[in-house]
């Protein structure tokens, strides 16, 4: 059992619980390799996927995880703009809970929205990304993938590269990796790295070649094209030249480093297509581990609820 009722983020999340989730996820990973990939673990548990922001892979990954565990699932999608016009966030949440559900997986554009949700309803809340705050299940699947590759997290040298300022993936990875004893370096344009980043216990280095020399693994973040128009990045050409993960760059290294990317990829911008498709990349393993991790999280958080209510 995990110490916290909800999974809101990895800030302050206990190391032993992260390890429990990863260990459980490896068990579910085996289930996913079987011909029949379904277990009855969450039969009778109802989970709502409450998505206030567009998402393809995270939502599908959660849905698959829920189906593999035999949970009943409902999907709710609303753009935040329609929400602003009509029903409040609180009303939406309370209405859905009134239909007797057990857990909510929520994505929301605003940091802290899952925390506020815990104040409005009693269900188990799992954060599937809240604005530029956290994306804990992504960080757990990233750590599981690193664990699979290296057999450990402690002492690993992990670089996170790209737009750190607007990234919930970066923040959850920083919290999780530091808790698990890894070392973290952030690399990207200075205006896309928070001014106070080093106070989080990481090192900031803007020189991509030095960072690649140092790292065991890199997590390459997507550069959102909408950032380009706002003067944050001068051009794709400049970004690729200063921070792009190109095959030329990787070839000059003395060792093979592991390349991760949370997707979706901008081929030729933050990462070369050949690199993304190459042997060093574990991007598709991350996707599979995503389903296994989310099964583990749902199982560990929601099966307790099932037992409590039956007893």
């Amino acid at each position: 059992m995990l110490k916290n009722k909800h999974l809101l983020g990895l800030a302050g999340y206990p190391a032993e619980d992260i390890q429990t989730i990863i260990d459980t996820a490896f068990n579910f990973r085996e289930v996913l390799e079987r011909p029949i990939k379904k277990v009855p673990s969450l039969q009778g548990v109802t989970i709502v996927n409450l998505f206030f922001e567009n998402s393809t892979r995270t939502r599908i990954s959660f849905e698959l995880a829920q189906k593999r565990l035999s949970a009943d699932t409902v999907n709710f999608s609303a753009s935040s703009s329609s929400l602003k016009k009509g029903e409040s966030f609180k009303d939406t949440a309370q209405n859905i809970e009134a239909m007797k559900i057990d857990a909510v997986v929520m994505r929301h554009p605003t940091p802290g929205a899952p925390k506020h949700l815990t104040e409005f309803i009693d269900s188990i809340i799992i954060n599937a990304g809240d604005g530029t705050h956290e994306h804990p299940t992504q960080a757990i699947l990233d750590m599981m993938s690193l664990h699979e590759k290296f057999g450990k997290l402690k002492g690993l040298k992990v670089a996170i590269i790209g737009d750190i300022l607007h990234s919930r993936v970066a923040l959850s990875n920083i919290y999780g990796l530091i808790t698990m004893g890894a070392e973290v370096v952030l690399c990207g344009p200075p205006n896309l790295i928070p001014h106070h980043a080093e106070e989080l216990g990481v090192v900031v280095n803007h020189n991509i070649n030095e960072v690649l020399d140092w790292a065991d693994a890199i997590n390459v973040l997507r550069i959102q094209r909408e950032r380009m128009g706002k003067g944050l990045i001068p051009s794709i050409r400049e970004y690729r030249s200063l921070f792009g993960i190109t095959s030329t760059r990787l070839k000059t290294l003395k060792k093979e480093i592991v390349v991760m990317h949370p997707g979706p990829i901008n081929r030729g911008v933050e990462i070369d297509g050949v690199v993304a498709d190459g042997d060093q990349a574990i991007i598709l393993d991350q996707v599979l581990n995503g389903v296994a991790s989310r099964m583990a999280i749902l199982f560990l958080l929601c099966s307790g609820k099932k037992i409590n209510e039956e007893s």
Binding site: A11, S88, G112, A113, K115, T132, H195, E199
Partner: protein, 430 residues
């Protein structure tokens, strides 16, 4: 009702009288006749006069708050002049200045007159602050001269800072006609951007857009230089950062027309409190770091900051029970003010009670050119009776405001205002 009309003669007996105007502290009684102070000292009374036992308590001037939002006209569901008056009296305040960001804003002599007339029926003294520019839009000066004649005591565009430096210069120059302060919420809109809280390690951890202290201090610097150049009265509201304090300190050494205020919440909280995503702590300017808080306290001790103002900003539950980006800025502050200020400045920082009371009485009155000698014989009684030592948890039943958006709910307060006398009305918190 906690408020009732005073008896024609009432005797405040055996209190510790603190007069922040003469800076005297002595044991004694105060006789109020027909709402006016009639005698102060040792008073031998007859038995049929109504008495308020003040033993163990402090009798002092009614507090004065230069910065409140009473939401009338426009949002009477959040606060009215009447409900705001009750909130003020509950907090020991007998005189407040209301900000012009109403709907419509107080940007004309007629709007000022509306407040003056309504205020006349209220149990405290309410002074309107007029808008500097029409519709607070930052483009055209309001009829400041006519508005002052109607009763405007200062001018401010409140939460909409005057971004254009030349407009600010014009406003300051023009204000020399009427010699009242210009109050500018100092915040550079471009630097603030979508900032929801102080930019720092906590905003980084929470992923909330940060609002850097530079957004404040750069505009404070501009305003100080402009006020110097135009030789006008400038009042800087709710100073929140160490950088701004340094600039004000330097300028005040050479310019006596500068004044500044700080809120109880900036003196009490630091940004760590935002870790809970409590929308009641979403306020403009934002709560900053512990080091900023220390600087604000130091500035109070040195007199760099002149007074306390609450920036009482009522909002409905719906405005606050939402996600952080959509929640309104602001918190109520009148009822919780003394219990917080006394706790921080007297109990934790060791300041003298007389000096802390001055921050709520003579100092703000001086800035606005209000009468400061409140214990003068014959003057209408504006009196606060308080217990500086009582400890209690601040709860909803301590709130008189129509709104309850206070992050102080659940906090331990030290010191409580128990009776407030104003305009021949006695308000009791008992």
């Amino acid at each position: 009702m906690p408020a009732k009309k005073l008896k024609s003669r009432i005797l405040l007996v055996n209190g510790t009288i603190i007069d922040p105007y003469t800076k005297q502290i002595f044991l004694g009684d105060i006789l109020i006749e027909e709402g006016r102070i009639s005698k102060i000292g040792k008073i031998i009374s007859d038995s049929n006069i109504e008495k308020i036992d003040c033993s163990g308590k402090i009798i002092t001037h009614g507090f004065c708050d230069l910065h409140v939002h009473f939401r009338e006209p426009g949002r009477e569901d959040k606060e009215t002049l009447e409900s705001g008056s009750m909130a003020a009296m509950s907090g020991g305040f007998t005189r407040v200045c209301v900000m012009p960001n109403t709907n419509p804003p107080l940007d004309s002599p007629e709007a000022i007159n509306f407040i003056i007339k309504k205020a006349d029926e209220c149990p405290i003294y309410i002074h309107p602050i007029g808008a500097v520019t029409k519709m607070q839009a930052g483009n055209d000066l309001t009829e400041m001269g006519l508005m002052e004649k109607e009763g405007a005591v200062a001018f401010s565009d409140d939460g909409l800072p005057i971004q254009d430096g030349s407009m600010m210069r014009i406003a300051l120059e023009y204000s020399n006609l009427i010699k009242v302060p210009i109050i500018n919420h100092s915040e550079d809109e471009c630097l603030r951007a979508n900032g929801l809280m102080n930019e720092g390690v906590v905003s980084t951890k929470l992923g909330l857009d940060g609002n850097s202290d530079l957004a404040e201090s750069l505009m404070v610097n501009r305003d100080l230089e402009l006020a110097d150049f135009t030789n006008s009265k400038l009042h800087i509201p709710h100073v929140s950062s160490s950088k701004s304090v340094d600039l004000i300190r330097r300028k005040k050494r050479v310019n006596s027309k500068i004044s500044a205020e700080v809120t109880p919440h900036h003196l009490y909280f630091n940004e760590e409190a935002l870790n809970t995503f409590d929308t009641n702590l979403k306020v403009a300017p934002p709560i900053r770091t512990e080091s900023d808080r220390r600087s604000l306290i130091q500035a109070i001790k040195e007199g760099v900051i002149d007074c306390i103002a609450t920036d009482h900003a009522p909002h409905t539950l719906d405005d606050k029970e939402t996600t952080f980006d959509l929640a309104s800025f602001g918190m109520i502050g009148l009822e919780s003010c003394f219990g917080i200020i006394n706790k921080v400045l007297v109990k934790q920082e060791g300041m003298e009670l007389l000096d802390v009371i001055s921050l709520l009485t003579v100092n703000p009155r001086k800035i606005m050119n209000f009468e400061m000698d409140l214990f003068k014989i014959g003057r209408p009684a504006e009196i606060t009776i308080l217990d500086p030592d009582v400890e209690y948890i601040f709860k909803k039943n301590h709130i008189q405001s129509l709104s309850v958006n206070s992050p102080f709910l659940g906090e331990t307060m030290i010191g409580k205002t128990q009776y407030t006398i104003s305009k021949n009305i006695l308000f009791s918190n008992e």
